[in-house]
Amino acid sequence: MSIFMEFSTIYSTRSTYCFTYLLYLLFTTFPINTVNAQQRMIKGRITNPAGEVLEGVTVIQKPENHTTKSDSKGLFSIAGGGSAILRFTLVGFRDQEVKLHDKTDLHIILEPVDAKLDEVIITGYRQQKKSTYTGASTTVAATELTNQQGAAFNDRLQGLAPGLQIASNSGIAGGSTFVRLRGTTSVNAGNDPLYIIDNVFINSESLQGVRTGGQSTNPLADINPADIESIEVLKDANATAIYGSRGANGVIIITTKRGSKDGPTRINLNSQYGFAHYDKLWDLSTGPQHAEILNEAYLNDGGSYELRPYRPVSEVVNGVAGLGNPEDQGTYDRLGILFRTAQQQTHNLSISGGNNKTAFYIGGEFSDQPSIIRLQDFRRHSYRTNLDHKINERLAVGISASYAQTKRQLVRTGDTGGILNTGIHTPTLTPIFKEDGSYNNAERFNNPYILLENSNNHAYGKRFIGNFFAKWEIIPGLSFKTSWSLDNNDYRESIYYNANLNEGKASNGSATEGLTNDKTWIAEQLLNYNKDFGENHLAVFLGNTIQRNDFQRQLLTGTNFPSIEFKTIASAAITTAYDTGIISSGLLSYFGGANYSYKNRYNIDVNLRADASSRFGKQNRWGYFPSAGFSWRVAEERFIRENLSFLNELTLKTSIGWTGNQNINDFASLTLWNGGNNYLDLPGIAPSQLGNDRLKWETTRQLNIGLESSFLQNLFSVEFNYYSKYTTDLLLSVPAPAKTGFSSTLQNLGEMSNKGIEFQLTARPIKGDVFRWTSSFNISHNKNLIEKLPASFTQYNRDWVRLQQGYPMYSFWLYKQLYVDPQTGNAVYEDVNKDGKITADDRHIVGNAWPNYYGGFRNEFSYKNIDLNFLIYFSQGNKVFNMNRYFQEHAGSRGTSWSLQESMMRRWQQPGDITDIPRVTNQPNPDGSYNHNFESSRFLEDGSFIRLRNVTVGYTFDKKLTERIGIQTLRIYTNATNLFTITNYSGADPEVNVAQDFANQTVQGLDFSIPPHARTIEFGINATF
């Protein structure tokens, strides 16, 4: 009931009326039912065609709707009689209805069907069988997820669902993940799919308020993947349009585990313990190589041989001694100090069960996942309670509630104070210790030991996600469901850079405490009507949701500490505070839809949603999102059955619909002035935002054409989808002319398209009882294109990435290096306008971060008690900008303040050398370009890779053996991730990206000081009591 309490605070006093009115409606309308006593008991036995008994078949008696399940001997008994009808349903088998005609003893034989088509999927606001579904979606079951690695469930989806492109940005547990479902439809209004857990629309944007240099956290890591029963990925417009303004980027619906009614109480314990280590790191030059390059640069830039910096110490010129010959220089490795073998563990305990009225699931988890790089730890405690209760035959209530606490230790990775700048970018030439044994801290980046000893950066998350629902079957076929949800997310950051660290040096210690709270309330009311008329089936639904989000952030900073011993802001000489106040937004929605199905063969869907968002100007507040779909189960036609009997299923489907996106800043439509523009410590205000009262939804139209088939006794099943998405009125932060005094304004400008195909083939080559093999392969292709953009503009602080009409997003804007002139050793760049000079006009788009295709190949084997499965993930054609190399092939221009890559050793040295690394020099070339420190396409590399994501081997002990010690099932297993990666990429890991601190990731495929993905080996035990 705590959710109700929370809800009562949603509305101001004026509207408490709304709330009480609703409660009144709810609690005055519970029907009171009595069971009809004039009935006999019907008994029966259920088997498959081979005569094997079937356990767990749901038996429903109509019209009274009594329900039971068959036991382990396939037996059932249920009250019924006369002209009653029994309906038998079991996943994987065709439904059967039997008219009793006074029979009391039955033998029911259920025919197996293609399991996938009979799965019940949750599409929008109704549940339906996959066979009657006209849209495109993919279901990922718990068994597929548990073997995968990743603190957050979305990391684990990689390679499992066609059309879903997933790349965790780094190897840090709980770090951000790039998720795109069927491409990118937006630039500035967010591209994350909508995540819904047990009816709760959850926040998926990082609440980090303090930058941590190139990485951000993933709020979905607050959710324990072990609690998940299944994940439904909704892709096409017919599935997503019912989410209207939230649906343009696809919808991912997560269902958590629930207790089963009338089942025994089960206790499940799953413990795993493992080790993580790096697979590959960076190839840095040695100290002698670094010195050699510096000498060469000195000479090439006109220095005299006598004055070369690395000459014998004895060669004193003008009173300055040499630094020693290159070969006398030491090589000092920092990576070995900063990387570690991390010991990771996760323990899950769950209890589930139920009787005929109540079912429950209670789960608890502890997970400790330190990263392979030091100072990066992730720890999570989570609890879940899912409860279902039938008050009577018509009224059921339930809750789904989870609470999680996370604790992170963080460190900057890729900037001045970054741990990987210390590790990768400090020259190996520079000693770590001074001659007197103290730490050498005269480096550009922190000394590794100083960093390890002084870093103090933690973040604590607390998250409650709760849902209460009540479902009332008003009359058979007509039900009403009310659902109330809350996602309350607290995030506290506590950071102290003391004066020993580079970040704290200038300010004599700098500390920040940040508190962020993000709350979303949702109330949802839904009417569902299902009716069979002979061979016609009609399903209608009508609903309403209200959503409100409140966001608040407070930051407190202190600088100038008396000494490093003082760590709290109270002791800082200068303190400042920042408070956003509560920023609220609301969304009001009405929606409805109908599904008509004839003979379970022809299906038509229509949906409509209307949304009103507080984020838009009043005149454009409402948006309307319709969709429609059609599917035809061809294989059910008699001419196919008779002539093409090898076909078990063949379904053709198509859908079209419109979805929206409103994920922009609140108040983006208003012209605003901000405070805090102070002078002389007096308050000052300044224009902060140029309003646009015509701001409206970004709209995406999507067409889907799909085919699903299974054949040869379900030996193979295939699924193929083609989609075409077209987004108009892009919510775009458009550069304003500088003379206006603003750098950008938010406008509905530009159009973008995504077209793609998805293919999945599943084979079950061996289906025996002793040996089984299932194999699944999926591959996807997406082509993104900015169709219309009046003016092109750059993203990211170094302008590497540019949005330009006729090119896809994530395009790199660079000077294209054609070759290195074998005679001069200078890099030759493409002179686009042929003016003999290399100017900004010659900079153009030379590639993008999109893969041509990506996918997964998954195999499951079981032989007697042994099971084995593995997943290979691949991505082909994506470009990665290797920013580490950009810095590290500096050819001496950054002297001893920056490390060199070993690739410098294949530089041009004498006429005739054929190489891609030009002559070392700091001087500009005659055409105005530079060989080094230049935005050259040389650093844009092919980031294609094939990776063995996961291998799991398990052994399940004989039940007879374990039952003696009271254990139902006992399985031990070992699990390895990232055992091999095949790639031409020269960095440590092709699957990396500089995560921006904002949700709008407009940059992809940028590698700068990012920890690579770990190779992990885990051992686990799973016991059910």
Binding site: S12, S15, C18, L25, T29, F30, T430, R444, L478, F480, N502, A506, S507, N508, L527, R548, T559, T576, T580, G581, I583, G586, L588, A612, S614, D666, F667, L670, T671, W673, G675, N677, N678, Y679, L680, D681, L682, G684, I685, A686, P687, S688, Q689, L690, P735, A736, P737, A738, K739, T740, G741, F742, T745, Q747, A791, T794, R798, D799, A840, G895
Partner: protein
Amino acid sequence: MILAMNLFLYKRTKTFLFALSITLLFTHCEKDLLDFNPTESISDEFAIVDGKSAETALLGVYNKLQSSSYYGGDGYQAAAYLSGGDLLWVGTLNYYATFINHTYRADNRVITDAWYAIFRAVNGANHIIAKVPSLSTGITEQQKKQLVGEAYFLRALAYFDLARAWGNVPIVLQPTNTVNDANGIRQSTQGLVYDQVLADLNAAEALLDESINRNRATKNTVYALKARLHLYRKQWQEAEDFASRIINQSNQYNLIDWQTFINTKNSNESIFELAFSTLNTSAHFGSWSSISYRNQFAPNRALYELTQSAQTGGERKLLISDNSSTAIPNYFVQHLYWRTTNDNPTYILRVAEQYLIRAEARAQLNKLNDAIADLNAVRTRAKTALFQSNSQEAILRAIEDERRVEFALEPHRWFDLIRTERASTLAGATDHSKWIFPIPYNDIAADPDLVQNPGY
């Protein structure tokens, strides 16, 4: 009642009423759900409504001057420091390096950010100039004159800085209310922009008092900027006159010793000193190299030696120290912006400049002895030997050299070398098209009225 309601709703034919009730229910709530106001910001119509709010809006313009991309210690100043040829780039961001050998391109981030930052100050001033004169409540006439006068000065300074750096810039004199407001405004030539600067300075001069406030614009600040404007425009007599108006107020504006000047905020040396505080910090200390950390730029050996020599530097040796080691050669550290608490002021207009403006103007007017007297005033303060010569050319060269060391850590050298057309000889900028910066590539893409400067 409950039972009746129950039965009523339980009837199949009436179920639609239930749905209807729910729909109606939430229609009631629409206002609470969809109408929110920002808590951090205010709408434009409430921004400037009386004297108090107009004052905050004016302080906001000074705040725009403080942008690190403008006068806050990096950006515009960095571009000038580095182009002047006396600095080393020792940082991570290669676009700083291009200033040293004048190979900056239109995609240079420093240039782009400075350009946008200055126009932000212009827009702030335009709001004051357009709105304050018509305010009717809560403001006195005197207050109006003060606020509008300061805004005119700030706009003049912004356009002066735009004109000397980019040459051809669009002149926008109205506040921006929609993104299309300035459509059609094309660039004016440098001369026309300077004319606008003078017009604004004249307006400011008429409105402001001749009071002393070293952190905000007064009539004296206007005189000092006018002296510099006329010097840039080679209007020697006017330059001499306006510089004299400052120099003559010797009880308020005089040359104090270097140690005191470096250590004291708002000393008598300052005419316009952009103030920073520990709550409102400057980027200056951080963007230069310090003893503990090498950031983007640092003085080079030549400048270091110039300041250390008793002949040329004198007391100005305090400005730079040598922190080099065998491991890091050429590691020089500046000490003008020395406060680690980052409340270092930016010296925009100061007395020594007025002396050197007047010296140069007088030399050009052939008042050689007066010119030498002004030059020697600066040299005396630095405790370097007095300069003597009868040659106009030698005196002008001596003033040029004096400015180099006197403003070793202030952004004058580059603009001086361009206005005297000596940048190719002394800063190696042989390509004259590089004497003005490129119009940012991104702004040309955003603004169809803009034309790129020749040579880019």
